[in-house]
Symmetry: C2
Subunit: 157 residues, 2 copies
């Protein structure tokens, strides 16, 4: 079984997402950080995801583009503050449709008796930004990404 949980408390400017994957941390880390695998789980399945840049290392930059079936593009980019293999990724993220609105994401990976717990804390520049993101249907998106991630896990296990 795989669990995903989203927490967004009223009046706060963060979202906390936890996943528990029934797989070893090495594999979870690989799927999370490999530019070849990333497009296969990040975002909704009906979007095609392409990697413009994904330098997974401290000080690196990234840019990912989602293409919907109508040909619209949704681009996101940011920088990696820290990448510590198997343990932690801290990065920034901006949707290019709203320039200047940026979030700080802290993702930690923990062993849990053979399973892996992934905790993702996203903090926003304001409560309004956080609420805006939640209202775009973030929960549905996160759950769909989680489902695709698990599918990929099983395929690679």
């Amino acid at each position: 079984m795989t669990e995903v949980n989203l927490l967004f408390e009223p009046g706060k400017q963060m979202v906390v997402i936890t996943h528990i994957f029934d797989a070893p941390r090495e594999l979870v880390w690989k799927i999370y950080t490999d530019p070849e695998l990333f497009p296969r789980w990040w975002g909704p399945e009906i979007f095609k995801t392409t990697i413009d840049k994904m330098e997974v290392k401290s000080g690196g930059s990234w840019r990912v583009v989602q293409h919907d079936p109508e040909g619209n593009e949704f681009a996101f980019h940011g920088v990696y503050h820290e990448v510590k293999a198997l343990e932690r990724v801290i990065d920034t993220m901006e949707w290019e449709g709203m320039p200047g609105h940026v979030l700080l994401e802290t993702v930690t990976f923990e062993d849990l008796d053979g399973k892996t717990k992934v905790t993702n804390i996203s903090v926003f520049q304001s409560v309004e930004d956080r609420d805006g993101m939640v209202q775009t249907g973030m929960e549905v998106g996160v759950k769909e990404s989680n489902k695709r991630f698990v599918k990929l896990l099983k395929e690679l296990q």
Copy 2:
């Protein structure tokens, strides 16, 4: 006259600092982003500040070290998510004494009839992190940096 104002509301995970400088935006921007000038105003006057790296551009990295009179070193580093000349800097910052604790800083520069308003919004990964930073004497530090900044402004005007 120069004004500096700090706002940290209880229970929030951010600090908002505003400065109004009686100087044109070009000069304020230059002092803020020039690696030669930065050590002359950032932090307490009794510390010597050295720049290890300061790549002021989108995707760049920075690392600054403060040396106290006893020879202790306090190092800070981060990445620039965005540098938009004369308008905005968005970057991350981590004090190396507390690894993994990172803040996202958004600094905007606005013309105000010949004066310049600088707004600095720092968001933290938690309320506890924010409160910890405030309790280290952040207010005194910010006010001292502001004073040094103004002194430098006058010298260069």
